[in-house]
Amino acid sequence: MAFSLHGVHVPHRKNTAKLSALRMEPPKVVTIPMSMHIGAPAKPVVAVGDAVKVGTLIAEAGGAVSAPIHASVSGKVTKIADFLLSDGRTVPAVVIESDGEMTPDEKIAPPIIDSRESFIEAVKNSGMVGLGGAGFPTHFKLNADPAKIEYLVINGAECEPYVTSDTLTMENRGGDMKIALEALKKWLGIKNIVIGIENNKKDAIAAMQKLMAEIGSDCTATVKVLPAVYPQGGEKVLIYHTTGRVVPAGKLPIDAGCIVINCTTLASIGAYLMTGMPLVEKCVTVDGGAVKTPQNLIAPIGTPMEDLFAACGGLTTEPEKVVYGGPMMGITVPDLSAPVLKNTNAVLALTAKELKTPKTTNCIRCGSCTNTCPFGINPAEIARAYQRKDAAALKDLALTSCMECGCCSFICPANRPLVQTNRLAKIFLREEQAKEAKK
């Protein structure tokens, strides 16, 4: 490969990498929002007072780009209440009081698959979404024209600091991944499989090399060891570094002949194909300076964060921020009642010390932002164009190519809110273009 996309060296802080995942005590109450994926919210199919078991369907997909949702504990639906999402939308959330039994739904059975369509339908019924963080409904991704799929790229980069749940998947759930890969090969005719892993995960690399050797009899299957440079796991970055393909700006991976699936998503598909138990629990890295004993917990979806922290010995100090996901792209929560979502891979309670930033000064035009941007965007110029509300300049500066990885803000010595301004500028540009369209 001629070039390597830029990025930044983030601290790894993978404190939990060597700890096996613990299954936590079932929580007393779970809160399950109807939107844990990109696309239309799911529609509840249960009512207050209904009894549910683990795996019972509680909401059906609300459109083509959507995913069904299942009960993660056995018990009774006590409330269907409004729930404020991190993006400001309000959706219903099903609140289930657990009976503490965790009884599985007796209707759960492995899906019967005899065609490409029934395979995709099965993935849809499992409630699967991109578990790496984006939450894109997996069945929609798999439903691409099979003739266009040249590569299946598995995302095992896990480039965010602290987070190790994908590492544990690769080390321990090779069997589940294998079942899913065999099915993908059979029903989608996948010919080339490549998994990208950062070079700081030696055990995961070894485990995946073994897996790739096992499934590589009738297709190419390789492990691509990548430098530990953030954002290695960014979809377009990963595709470029594993296949050499460039996804055109504003296009999807399939436009470059690729489908990208996170390794934990893959393992979860495999588990569903074996057991028929849909996506009801997640392995979550619980870490951050305020957590007494950081570890990986297997938690039912909807478990409040405070239960996770309690299972890790509690918080030793009051955190400054509590974050879903890693510290580079994670989303802050207002309080500890926030539930584990399908796409939650980590929950971090970060202290002021970990969050320390230098004093904000004027931009000193050092160029670090554009020189570290994986895509070569110039965030400092975007900030100036946004300040003068120049929609044409923002478009020329390829603002919409920004994946919001945060390298620019991380590296900026003047501590300018660069990626944050990109987000505001995107909203502004969308509004301007909507105004333009009306004319």
């Binding site: 460039v246 802050t332 004093k359 020189n371 390829a398 987000r423």
Partner: protein, 312 residues
């Protein structure tokens, strides 16, 4: 359990720890060897000049912020950098009031009025030096080293007939006529290496700048290697190429842009030295390239990934 409100903020939540003040501090540290060498070579008056330029740059910045009711910015240390660079570009014999006027010009006219740090189109220290050169003519009368016999150490770039040029070793160690901080190439190179190691600067501008002057001088001196070496060790080239041309604010951000900037500055320096009326052209060269910087940035901007072809 929770007493304190959790902070809600847009990601990222961690920072690399790089800061404007740390970068400026690194530049100050890197300038120290050459400043100390200047004081040793030119005596206590050099120290007085440096103290006055640094003191008045800091003072004028504080005063300007006070008058225009802006937040004080002394904590970023950039005023100290400008003061130090300005002083190091002046001869030790300069009248002290001229130092104060130069500092006023740098901090208020070039920096403050354009919006402070990061918004000045040209380098404040360089522009003040050029202003003083034109206004006072004081820079052409370079001071002589105090630690050696003055006769053998005229400013190498303005040797009159019959004067002997300083040896290469003298040039390297800085025992030659000139401005306080520009003569000791050894100390300036040490500072440059420090900045490279600390990743404050990259190699492109200094190498392209000095390399261009070297190659052009080699041609002019009929491939006399030692004469070309003397050319790059003389005058303000080292301090200019390592410390002034690499000023973030007024130099390009892309690797190729930096090379264009360095080559351009090198060519202009060479042309002024050999064909101009001034003996030295480093300041004019950097000033001219400062003005071209926005254009160089737009000519060499990075191609955005996925927008036609592969990115560079």
């Amino acid at each position: 359990m929770m007493e304190k409100q959790l902070t809600l903020a847009s990601s990222p939540h961690i920072h690399s720890g790089r800061s404007t003040s740390r970068i400026m501090l690194d530049v100050i540290i890197a300038l120290c060897p050459a400043a100390i060498a200047g004081v040793i070579i030119f005596g206590w008056r050099a120290l007085l000049v440096l103290a006055i330029t640094v003191g008045s740059c800091v003072g004028f910045e504080a005063l300007f912020n006070l008058i225009v009711k802006k937040e004080q910015t002394l904590g970023d240390f950039s005023a100290i950098v400008t003061g130090l660079l300005l002083g190091m570009n002046l001869p030790a014999s300069i009248p002290l009031w001229q130092c104060v006027v130069g500092a006023l010009f740098a901090m208020v006219v070039v920096k403050g009025l354009f919006g402070g740090l990061g918004n000045n189109p040209v380098n404040p220290a360089i522009t003040a030096r050029v202003f003083m050169l034109v206004a006072f003519g004081s820079m052409t009368k370079a001071a002589f080293p105090k630690i050696v016999d003055a006769v053998s150490s005229a400013t190498p770039l303005s040797l009159a007939a019959g004067e002997t040029a300083p040896s290469l070793l003298d040039l390297f160690l800085g025992v030659q006529g000139g401005a306080i901080g520009e003569t000791c190439a050894a100390a300036l190179l040490a500072g440059g290496i420090y900045l490279l190691v600390r990743r404050v600067i990259t190699w492109q501008i200094p190498v392209a700048f000095i390399g261009t002057v070297f190659v052009c001088s080699l041609f002019m001196e009929r491939f006399d290697f030692l004469a070309a070496l003397a050319a790059i060790l003389s005058g303000g080239l080292m301090i200019g190429a390592i410390f002034m041309a690499t000023d973030y604010v007024t130099s390009p951000v892309t690797p190729w842009g930096k090379i264009i900037f360095g080559v351009g500055a090198g060519l202009i320096t060479f042309l002024i030295r050999y064909f101009g009326t001034y003996p030295e052209g480093v300041s004019f060269a950097i000033l001219f390239m400062n003005i071209l910087t926005p254009y160089i940035n737009s000519w060499t901007k990075r191609k955005v990934f996925g927008t036609g072809g592969k990115k560079a």
